[in-house]
Structures are given as structure tokens and as C-alpha cells.
């Protein structure tokens, strides 16, 4: 199963992500963001630090956008990337996760302004896989 792929529209870029369930989908979306920002796979460097992230949304799409927004905040405000997600709970459009944060492996390749809701919809593909395409404003 493909985990993620990057794509480009005329003005922006985006991430396609796949997952057996919402947990895996969210993990793979974060992996996609890391690939966009730092290349794939980024080399592991330095210790990781933990930071709890909890969010309850109106939909899984809303949770996804907010998780990626947190990742971008860590990237640009604290010069950290999400090296791993330890998901404590993901159910009913809510997420409770420990983010394992590592320093930038290199300077980000792009300045992503935000994850957008443009055309955002998590769908179920034949075979039961969940799929999402999320556009990022760069």
C-alpha cells in the first residue's frame, strides 16, 4: 500500500495519503508533509522530545488540517519536525497524540503557509482503504 504521494496544482502543492484507518491515514499525511518539507525519508538526527496534541473536530478532515497546522507551527516557530506520532486515541473525530519532535534535519524546502480545506474529503476506496488529497498553500 502506498503511504503518501506529493502532487502539485498550478499555484500550490499537496499531499495524497492512504491508510487502513484514520490513525494510519493521519500518520501518512504527516509523513507526506515531512517529505515535502525535508525530503524523504529525512535522516534521524538528535533526541526527540514529546509534546501532547489533543484536538476534537467537526470531522476527520478538520482533525487532519489541525494536525498538519500543528506540524507547521512546530516547523516554523520551533524548528522541529514530527519524527513520530504516538496515538493515544483516535475516535469520533478526535485525536489525542504524543508528538515526538526532532530538530530540523535540514532547512525546509518550502514555506507552507497552511493546510487548506480546498476540496478536502477523506473517502473510502475500493478495498476499504481510506484516501485523502490535501492542498497546501505555499
Amino acid at each position: 500500500m502506498k503511504a503518501f504521494a506529493l502532487f502539485a496544482t498550478t499555484a500550490d502543492v499537496g499531499i495524497e495519503a492512504w491508510g487502513r484507518d484514520h490513525r494510519q491515514l493521519l500518520r501518512n499525511a504527516v509523513r507526506g508533509l515531512n517529505a515535502l518539507l525535508f525530503g524523504e525519508p529525512p535522516p534521524s538526527r538528535g533526541r526527540t522530545e514529546g509534546r501532547r496534541f489533543r484536538y476534537r473536530g467537526d470531522s476527520w478532515e478538520n482533525v487532519l488540517v489541525n494536525l498538519l497546522t500543528e506540524a507547521l507551527d512546530q516547523t516554523y516557530s520551533r524548528q522541529r519536525r514530527i519524527a513520530a506520532l504516538r496515538i493515544r486515541r483516535a475516535a469520533k473525530c478526535s485525536l489525542d497524540v504524543e508528538l515526538r519532535l526532532a530538530p530540523w534535519p535540514c532547512r525546509p524546502r518550502a514555506e507552507v503557509k497552511s493546510a487548506t480545506y480546498h476540496g478536502l474529503k477523506i473517502i473510502r476506496r475500493p478495498g476499504g482503504l481510506k484516501y485523502v488529497k490535501i492542498v497546501l498553500d505555499v
Partner: protein
């Protein structure tokens, strides 16, 4: 949606009546040549114009300027207006880079005399001015100082950092919109922005040194301070992480408050009533971000002037450096317009579109009221930029709006693929354009081939009568973020 669904009102105005698409509450109008409209049909940006035409309480038409291309929510080049008393506000009608805009300076420096110094000038700009993703700042501020900057915009820079009081008149809105309640801006926004004042950013942001290549309107050019053969300086940047986070925050706030009761053609078009608490808070935060952007461009201008003084070894007075104008192209502002013979106070959203007020308008600098507001349309890297002026037709047709740039034609991935076939710097050098950047990937993404032909966009703009050509500027030095 296809090209043939649009009815030509003129060679540069195309109408889609609301009856053509279910859900449209207003007509849609595209200002474009036929080739531009056909290209827009291919990249689905027309669907975005139609989506905006489906919003409630839209005044007049959902509009798109000739640099129309696919965005999210609004297309780039989109303009939409709502009544102040009962209308709506949309962060997606402004964009994430709130008050991204352009500033132009004229000089009395003959390009011929400066040619030997251009390489040094470009290198000095790249060395001194923070570009790309860096925490380096020339202006470390404490929290209180930063708050004052986002409260007072360019005015605060003149008061405490650098610059002249008289320059403020040549910035749209005097470089400041009212901010009374800064507490509604998130801590995250402050954290993202507090080390970025005086920085260029990345992507399509740039500083250019240009030469006035041709004058089309001698009277307006003289009033704007543009002389053939002289250097000009142009800055393109916005509100950086501060504005991006504000836009993100308020899209979330609008969703929390309104998503359950709204039926939206695109979730990125989430909106709130102007007079709702979240609507009023967003407008305050928008003003704060706009003030940051104006302060940012003001500091960059002062830095640029200082660099020119050092590199060209003359004081600014001798260099004749003067602010022509600073305009926003991602913003929503309250403006008075005449609609159906009635004066109305409207909230005009411009996303990738600029204001283009005509002669006589009280909201433009007194010095320009004889000819109209400058409209600065930058080209892509290595291609000319244009200075136009606003016209009465713009007020009549587009709420006083015009195009803002060339508009992308290729995605970043496509551009990188094309650029891999040649050396970008060398190719531009052949065109006598020196390029300076720390990011070779960034240069590839921004090659001229990735953008529409600027002349085509300008021709459609002037063809529709919404702006009138004043001058063409040729790039000599490009510094990219």
C-alpha cells in the same frame, strides 16, 4: 464549465448569467482575452468564480481579473463585494498571505551609470536582507514593540525605526488599518511573526532593481516620478507567518461557529456575517496582519535605500529615491462604491487583485488625484513589470479593481522539470538579468516559463478599460526569497 457558456460583453469582458448554473445567486464576469478565458476553463478556476457567485448577499457580480488562475476558495484574481450592513466576510476571499503586496520606488539613478554596480548591489541585498526560511532578523523586537508594529503599521516604523512621515501618504490606506483589540490575535501568530519583520520570505516574493524602459503616459509618469532610463526598485512580500497563522486561525474559528449550518460549494469558502463576533474579530486580525505587511515593506524599503547608498556611494537625496506607491493584492477593505446609482459601503475582497482607483478619488494620494492611483503589475522573474493607473471604468465594472501579476501557468513540479533543461541563472544572464538567491530550487520553480505572458494580462486589463498603461519596467537585478 466551458468557454462557450460565457457571453462576450466586449473582447475583454465575459459574462456567465446566474441562470446558467444552479445555485448561482449572481452573475459571474471574467475580465480576460479569449485565450486567457479558454485557459481558465482548462484549469477549473472558472468553477471557483461560479462558487463565489453562489454565496449569499453578493453585491453585483463575482469577478475575476485577467491573471485568473486556480487557487482554493476564491480563484487568484478574484474580487467579490458584500454590503457592510448585512454582508459576509470570508478569509478565503483574502488568502493566507494577508496584504501580500507590492511597493515601487523611483530613483534619479541612470541605469547606464549604475550598470557596473548591479552585481554588487544584488549581492549586498541578498547578504543583508533575510530571505527564505531563516530566523535571522535585522530587527529583533520584544513583545511590546511587536504589538505596537501590528497596531500601527508603517506609521510605527517611521516613528521608531526609519523612514519619512511624508512617505506614508503613498501607501494604500496610509500603511495602517485600525486595530483596537489585539487580544484576538493568537499567541501562535505572534510566535510565527515576531522574528520576521524586515524579511522577504520565499516563493514568488522578490526584490528587483529595474530600468524604466518605456513610457506610455508621459503626464502620469512624470507625476509618479518615473523617467525613462532611470532605475526603479520593487519589493513584493506580505505578512509572513503572522498573517498565515491569522488566516488559519480564523478559518478554524469560522468553521467551529458556522460549518454546521452552512451549505458550501467549497469548504474553503467558509464565511461569517460581518457583524458577528467572529466576523468582527477576523476583520481586526486582518487589519493587524495588514499592518505587519506594510511595516515589513517599509523596513525593507529603508534597508534597500541604505544598501543603495552604500553600494552606489551617494546619499538618498542625491539618488532621488522616492516611494511611488505601495498596494495590497490580498485584502478585504471597507470602501464606498456606487451600485445601481446608490452609494454603498461595501466590504471588497481582493484575492490576487489590486485596487485601481481613478483620478479624483479622495482615497488616493493628493499628488495623484489628477491622474489616478498607480497600479503596479509585476512580471515574473526576468520579465518586465508594468505601472498602470486606475480608471473610472474600474469603479464601474470591478469595484475599482485590477490585475496583480502574471499568474502561474505551470505548477512548481512542472517548472522544475522544464528548468532542468537549462541553467536558470545563465539563461537570465543572457537576457541581461542578474539573479541572486540562496535557493536553486526556488529559482527553478519561478522561471518565466511558469507564468503567463505579462503583456497579455496587461493588454486584457487595459483592453477592458479598468487600468491604463503608464510605463514598462525592465528587470536588471532579481533577488528571490
Amino acid at each position: 464549465m466551458e468557454f462557450r457558456d460565457f457571453k462576450p460583453l466586449s473582447p475583454f469582458r465575459w459574462l456567465l448569467p446566474k441562470e446558467k448554473v444552479r445555485g448561482m445567486t449572481a452573475d459571474a464576469e471574467i475580465i480576460a482575452s479569449e485565450p486567457i478565458l479558454r485557459a481558465a476553463a482548462d484549469d477549473a478556476s472558472l468553477t471557483q468564480v461560479i462558487n463565489v457567485a453562489s454565496l449569499p448577499r453578493l453585491v453585483g457580480r463575482s469577478l475575476a481579473m485577467p491573471d485568473i488562475h486556480y487557487g482554493y476558495g476564491f480563484c487568484i484574481g478574484g474580487v467579490a463585494a458584500f454590503r457592510e450592513e448585512d454582508g459576509i466576510v470570508l478569509p478565503g476571499g483574502v488568502g493566507y498571505d494577508i496584504n501580500c503586496g507590492v511597493r515601487l520606488l523611483s530613483t534619479a539613478i541612470p541605469a547606464d551609470q549604475a550598470r557596473a554596480d548591479l552585481e554588487s548591489l544584488g549581492a549586498a541585498i541578498l547578504r543583508h536582507i533575510p530571505t527564505g526560511l531563516t530566523k535571522k532578523t535585522n530587527y529583533p523586537l520584544d513583545q511590546k514593540q511587536f504589538q505596537e508594529v501590528v497596531r500601527h503599521g508603517a506609521r510605527e516604523i517611521v516613528r521608531h525605526f526609519a523612514g519619512r512621515e511624508e512617505d506614508l501618504a503613498f501607501i494604500e490606506s496610509g500603511g495602517r488599518l485600525a486595530v483596537d483589540r489585539l487580544e484576538i490575535v493568537s499567541r501562535k501568530a505572534f510566535e510565527r511573526g515576531d522574528s520576521q519583520l524586515g524579511s522577504l520570505g520565499s516563493g514568488n516574493h522578490f526584490i528587483e532593481v529595474q530600468e524604466v524602459e518605456e513610457i506610455f503616459d508621459p503626464e502620469a509618469a512624470q507625476i509618479f516620478g518615473l523617467q525613462r532610463g532611470m532605475l526603479t526598485l520593487m519589493i513584493h512580500t506580505g505578512s509572513r507567518g503572522f498573517g498565515h497563522q491569522i488566516a488559519t486561525d480564523f478559518i478554524e474559528t469560522f468553521r467551529r461557529k458556522n460549518i454546521s449550518r452552512l451549505s458550501l460549494p467549497d469548504p474553503q469558502l467558509i464565511y461569517a456575517d460581518i457583524h458577528s463576533s467572529e466576523g468582527q474579530n477576523y476583520l481586526q486580525a486582518l487589519n493587524a496582519a495588514s499592518n505587519f505587511a506594510w511595516a515589513n515593506r517599509h523596513l525593507l524599503m529603508e534597508d534597500l535605500i541604505a544598501i543603495c547608498e552604500r553600494t552606489l556611494r551617494q546619499p538618498r537625496e542625491r539618488l532621488g529615491m522616492r516611494l511611488v506607491y505601495d498596494q495590497a493584492h490580498n485584502i478585504a477593505k471597507f470602501e464606498t462604491h456606487t451600485v445601481g446609482g446608490r452609494e454603498m459601503k461595501l466590504l471588497v475582497h481582493r484575492k490576487g487583485a489590486t485596487r485601481a482607483f481613478p483620478a479624483g478619488n479622495p482615497d488616493i494620494p493628493a499628488a495623484y488625484r489628477a491622474v489616478g492611483q498607480p497600479v503596479i503589475i509585476p512580471g515574473s522573474m526576468g520579465t518586465p513589470s508594468f505601472v498602470l493607473r486606475g480608471t473610472p471604468a474600474a469603479m464601474e465594472l470591478t469595484f475599482g479593481s485590477s490585475a496583480h501579476g502574471a499568474g502561474r501557468r505551470l505548477s512548481r513540479h512542472q517548472a522544475i522539470k522544464v528548468a532542468s533543461q537549462f541553467n536558470v541563472r545563465e539563461k537570465l544572464k543572457e537576457r541581461q538579468v542578474l539573479v541572486f538567491s540562496f535557493s536553486s530550487q526556488g529559482l527553478k520553480e519561478e522561471i518565466p516559463e511558469a507564468y503567463k505572458e505579462i503583456a497579455e494580462v496587461v493588454d486584457a486589463t487595459t483592453g477592458a478599460g479598468i487600468s491604463s498603461k503608464v510605463a514598462r519596467l525592465r528587470p536588471l537585478v532579481v533577488v528571490k526569497g
